[in-house]
């Protein structure tokens, strides 16, 4: 019970911190929702009228705490640019972002863990080297470019999907999933390569440790040592990485969303920053922060499960 409270407390602190950062950021950068809305029709009077209307003239802390207060009670406010409630807008986009994230994450795990284990086991085989090189290459290509290559190969040459033919989940769920396979793949590929590499490094360094040698010398089989001892320890930094990757995908699939014309959170976030639509930005960031924290929590728990030495703490 105590730990639950503690975690809940840290949870609240982080959300407070990050939303406060966002507010401060919006204070520091030039332009506000009024300049965004009026564009080149802005006159000093028009700006001040609109600022008054949008409540931008209130002091910084008043604005922050009034936002925080409503947010606490589940009211995310109204978008300046769309004039609709932020909650309904985010709710309608959630399935898109969630599907994209989970799909890519599953691809990362499904690709990287087996490949990492196998290539480290057969470290010196040519096939293993080739996989290394391919992984290295996918990591070296900028995500944007990779997205274009995936579009080009699967969309323009193989005609497996229509570039830009995104269909929303509420129109046709099957087509929606089908379309998202390719962007998910483009997101997953470099991350899978990184995670494979990390796992391999970790396994190889773990194998050199004394206890592994002892295990071998006791006559345990290679597979046995591998799965009972090595993998269990070697996977710890990989889990940290995967946790970060998951958070990263939520926040950072933006580039791929652009290339594949997917209207998810990433794109909404970018446009809202540019429009200084801070109700939307705050809500998205708060959600991402919560996800990051929850993921980290899961990672911490996994540590405890996987590494008994940590259980004492």
């Amino acid at each position: 019970m105590k730990t639950v409270f503690k975690k809940l407390f840290t949870f609240v602190i982080t959300v407070l911190l990050v939303t406060l950062f966002v507010f401060i950021a919006f204070e520091l950068i030039p332009g506000d929702a009024a300049t965004a809305r009026l564009g080149i029709n802005a006159t000093p009077e028009a700006l001040s009228v609109l600022r008054e209307e949008l409540g931008l003239t209130r002091p910084f802390f008043v604005r922050y705490f009034s936002w925080l207060f409503s947010f606490f009670f589940g009211d995310m406010g109204t978008s300046y640019s769309y004039g609709v409630s932020v909650r309904s807008m985010l709710a309608s986009k959630l399935p898109i972002t969630l599907t994209l994230t989970l799909m890519s994450f599953v691809m990362v795990v499904v690709l990287s863990i087996p490949i990492g284990v196998i290539t480290s086991k057969y470290e010196d085989r040519p096939a293993s080297k080739i996989i290394d090189v391919i992984g290295q290459l996918t990591m070296s290509i900028p995500p944007f470019f990779l997205g274009i290559i995936v579009t080009y190969v699967f969309g323009m040459i193989l005609h497996l999907f229509v570039p830009g033919g995104f269909v929303s989940y509420n129109v046709n769920f099957g087509k929606f999933l089908g379309y998202l396979v390719f962007p998910s793949f483009a997101i997953a590929l470099p991350k899978a390569a990184m995670s494979t590499k990390l796992l391999k490094t970790s396994i190889l360094s773990e194998r050199k440790l004394d206890y592994v040698r002892t295990a071998y010398s006791r006559g345990n089989s290679t597979t046995d040592v591998m799965y009972k001892h090595v993998l269990k320890n070697a996977i710890i930094p990989v889990i940290t990485f995967l946790g970060m990757t998951l958070a990263d995908i939520v926040a950072g699939s933006l580039v791929i969303e652009q290339v594949f014309s997917i209207p998810g959170y990433g794109r909404l976030l970018i446009t809202s920053i540019s429009n200084r639509d801070y109700a939307v930005v705050q809500a998205i960031i708060a959600i991402i922060a919560m996800l990051v924290i929850i993921i980290n929590l899961i990672v911490d728990i996994l540590y405890q499960v996987l590494d008994p030495r940590l259980r004492g703490n």
Binding site: T14, A25, I29, L137, S140, I148, T201, R309
Partner: protein, 271 residues
């Protein structure tokens, strides 16, 4: 002598291949910057998208600028930014990760909450904040990217420290009365090197790519100065009509990143 080198090579080919790639790329860039007969900014309407030839060994870009001269200069800028960024990230990330991982408790909690907050904070917004507070330019890119990189290194180092601090040899060092600082930096830190190095390599890659993203937003390197990221995003506008521009630029990034990661792997093996 040759035999010995051959043996070494077979033992750690990554190190040598990586060093060779990095060295050759660096040499080409230096040569390009110092000896290219072309001003990297000079435009020439008659040689727009000129094909590779003796006059322009890699051809020309959309402004008729010599691609080789620009790639050399851009590559040098990119390398500089990436190296500095990763250095900042690794240095501060290691310090924070070591302290939080080793001591745990309140310090750990506070710094990790901070970490989470930074991780969740969109880097684009951070970039905008930086540009409005400090202005734009190469150093600002380095600082803001560096800050973005600290939390991920900190997390990795932290988990390594948490893992290592309970290992037998660390315990025995503690029993023998070694000071915390000594334990952290003499006993534990070397153990984290492989993982940190491989994440640094990943970080290096990310820095090259993130710089491209920032250039696009306007906070990065300002034109006409070039960086590989900036050039790639320029080249994409002509992807289907002049694919060689994008391919050459993209390949340069890939080769540099490849060279560095092989080098990183090799160094790790030697460690």
């Amino acid at each position: 002598m040759m035999k010995k080198l051959g043996f070494r090579f077979r033992k750690n080919p990554e190190l040598y291949i990586g060093a060779a790639i990095t060295g050759i790329m660096a040499l080409i860039m230096v040569a390009g910057v110092l000896f290219s007969p072309y001003d990297p900014d000079a435009m020439d309407a008659s040689s727009r998208f000129a094909d590779p030839s003796f006059a322009h060994i890699l051809g020309c870009d959309n402004f008729g600028r010599d691609l080789f001269a620009r790639l050399s200069l851009g590559g040098a800028t990119t390398l500089f930014i990436a190296v500095c960024t990763v250095l900042i990230g690794v240095t501060f990330g290691t310090i924070i990760g070591a302290l939080t991982g080793y001591y745990g408790g309140a310090v750990d909690e506070i710094l990790m909450r901070f970490n989470d907050a930074v991780l969740a904070f969109p880097s684009i917004l951070l970039a905008l904040v930086f540009i409005s507070v400090f202005g734009s330019g190469t150093w600002k890119v380095i600082i803001s990217l560096g800050i973005v990189f600290v939390p991920s290194f900190a997390r990795i180092v932290r988990s390594e420290f948490m893992r290592c601090k309970n290992l037998d040899y660390v315990r025995s060092a503690r029993l023998m009365g070694a000071k915390d600082i000594r334990i952290m930096f003499v006993h534990i830190l070397p153990n984290t090197v492989p993982v940190v190095l491989s994440s640094a390599v990943i970080g290096f890659n990310n820095a090259v790519l993130a710089e491209a993203g920032m250039s696009f937003l306007g906070i990065g390197v300002q034109p006409p100065a070039s960086s590989l990221g900036r050039m790639l995003s320029d080249a994409q506008a002509f992807l289907f009509s002049e694919p060689s521009y994008a391919i050459i630029t993209g390949a340069s990034i890939a080769i540099i990143v490849l060279g560095f990661s092989l080098l990183g792997d090799g160094l790790k093996k030697n460690a």
